[in-house]
């Protein structure tokens, strides 16, 4: 079995006095889309930030694509081919949409064909290409955030709640975009609260609670087991929208 794209072993993270991650063990296989679920405050965002190097793991080890990244600073983690879409989207409100994308293209200008592909995923982006990013609606900002993360091919995508606060039509657009992404070589780790979104896209699922991974497995297995869903997520799939 090829080595997983991402593996965490016994990762602990402390923020000031608060002990948030209590020994996280997680493996994300190459090319898969893994959904990271869990209640609010379970530590999902902390997990992503630790992987990205924004917060340093106080114990345990992190490996990305075979390299130990436990003590590696954020810019170098990104240069390994990791892209991060944070919960607040992290777009630069003072820059135009074009400038946002330009910045994300480390090679300089974004590849024309790649841009075309992105416009195919998010047709609306062409319209507001020259607009100042701060003037966009929530859905448009989210599209920009994802577009930025994929403007160049990346090995690993970390996405934090891509559908948060979005209208159903935009969520549908997101689902399509992510389905397209799955067809590329990218490995994805996506934090989600929307179980439908998670179920329709995820190959694998990991559930967090109180800073630990309490369940990993295939998504279709979890989706079929309503009892397990209630136990892990506190709600059954129908209400967890």
């Amino acid at each position: 079995m090829p080595e997983p794209m991402l593996s965490l072993a016994g990762v602990n993270t402390h923020i000031a006095q608060y002990h948030i991650l209590h020994g996280v063990d997680l493996e994300v296989p190459r090319g898969s889309l893994t959904m990271l679920l869990g209640r609010n405050g379970a530590g999902k965002t902390t997990c992503l930030r630790t992987i990205m190097g924004l917060w340093r793991a106080s114990a345990g080890s992190l490996r990305i694509d075979g390299q130990d990244t436990t003590r590696v600073p954020t810019p170098e983690v990104a240069q390994l081919g990791v892209a991060y879409v944070p919960e607040n989207m992290g777009i630069f409100a003072g820059l135009t949409v074009r400038e946002n994308v330009l910045l994300a293209a480390r090679a300089g200008e974004p590849d024309a064909k790649r841009l075309e592909w992105i416009f195919g995923l998010f047709p609306a982006m062409q319209k507001f290409w020259s607009s100042v990013a701060g003037n966009l609606s929530g859905g448009q900002k989210q599209m920009l955030a994802v577009a930025r993360a994929i403007v160049e091919p990346r090995k690993l995508l970390l996405v934090d709640e891509p559908t948060k606060g979005l209208a159903p039509a935009i969520i549908a657009n997101m689902v399509e975009a992510f389905r397209e992404l799955k067809r590329t070589d990218t490995t994805l780790l996506v934090v989600e609260q929307n179980f439908n979104f998670a179920r329709s896209l995820g190959d694998r699922v990991a559930v967090m609670d109180s800073g630990r991974i309490v369940h990993t497995g295939r998504m279709d297995a979890l989706a079929a087991d309503a009892g397990l869903q209630t136990k892990l997520l506190g709600l059954s799939l129908d209400t967890h929208q």
Binding site: L54, T74, P75, P86, G90, F92, G94, L95, L103, G134
Partner: protein
């Protein structure tokens, strides 16, 4: 809308001042002062916006620039008597370059030795930069002596020329030209280059810039040095304007610079430009209309602006 403030205040003062020629003189004086303040303040706002560092010793770069320029100019008094623009420039250009270089080197030292160890700790930052202020102000005295050094102005830019009935000082026109050039250069750098893009993004959200793969901390030193160099330039211009140099120069204008930076919005170069012009104009108009009010006028301006826009005229949306 805030952009309109400058012409609005300028035009509103016209009826108050009464006579057009006086108004022209005052306006040019105000714009010139504003330009020099802008040069001195722009580095501070950019450093604060990008690195979240407030350097209370910023005035030292101004003073060092002034002293550096003075050292060069006093050695080139021959060139300055020659009554030709070219000859004067051969004295002034090296003086200004010396000012920028000296202030820039000092800035590098500051960032590396004093500030880098205390990133993120605002309390320690304030204390350390105050310490830097104390030590370096004394060091200026050690190197250049405790006295005020008089600075002769080069021949071709002393005096005024007459436009209609208004007397316009040549030096002030020069200051406005230099200030505009600096602003234009900064604008181009920030808006048309990749580094400028990084700086603008970094002011908003440094974490995200790192997540995109850029080592933003390397940018910090560069911006800090550029900011101190600019302050040195402002100091040199200011010294030539005052026709003297003294070690307290930086401290004297520091409050005014802070006010300009707050009015403009921390991190915004455009805001700093507008704020500086407003402060300069206001100081000159009130200096003529209500001299007792003049010194406190910029503080009152700051209060008014903050009541209208609590984060300054052009705040950067911080993540």
């Amino acid at each position: 809308m805030a952009l309109a403030l400058v012409p609005v205040i300028a035009l509103a003062s016209l009826p108050l001042v009464g006579s057009l020629p006086t108004w022209v003189t005052l306006t040019v004086a105000g714009l010139a002062m504003g330009m020099m303040i802008f040069m001195m303040a722009s580095g501070l706002t950019l450093v604060f916006g990008l690195m979240d560092v407030l350097n209370f010793a910023h005035g030292i770069f101004i003073a060092v620039g002034a002293y550096g320029a003075a050292s060069v100019l006093t050695r080139m008094s021959a060139q300055m008597q020659a009554e030709s623009l070219a000859s004067d420039l051969t004295a002034m250009v090296p003086a200004v370059l010396a000012a920028i270089a000296l202030a820039g080197v000092l800035g590098w030292f500051f960032e590396r030795v004093l500030i880098r160890p205390v990133y993120g700790d605002h309390l320690k930052q304030i204390l350390i930069t105050m310490g830097g202020l104390i030590v370096f102000e004394q060091l200026i005295h050690v190197v250049w002596g405790p006295d005020i050094i008089p600075l002769p102005r080069p021949g071709t830019i002393t005096g005024s020329f007459i436009l209609g009935e208004a007397a316009i000082e040549r030096y002030r026109v020069l200051a406005v030209i230099v200030g505009l050039a600096v602003f234009a250069a900064m604008w181009l750098l920030l808006n048309r280059t990749r580094i400028g893009l990084l700086v603008r993004a970094g002011v908003e959200n440094p974490e995200m810039v790192e997540s995109l793969g850029y080592r933003i901390k390397r940018l910090f030193v560069g911006v800090f040095v550029a900011g101190s160099g600019l302050a040195g330039l402002g100091g040199a211009m200011w010294a030539m304007y005052q026709e003297q140099v003294n070690a307290q120069m930086g401290a004297q204008v520091l409050v005014m610079i802070f006010i300009v930076v707050i009015i403009g919005g921390l991190g915004s170069v455009g805001g700093c430009f507008i704020g500086a012009l407003l402060v300069g104009l206001l100081a000159n108009y009130t200096g003529y209309l209500a001299p007792k009010l003049a010194l406190g006028s910029n503080i009152l301006l700051m209060v008014l602006v903050l009541l209208w826009r609590p984060r300054g005229l052009f705040p950067i949306g911080k993540a």
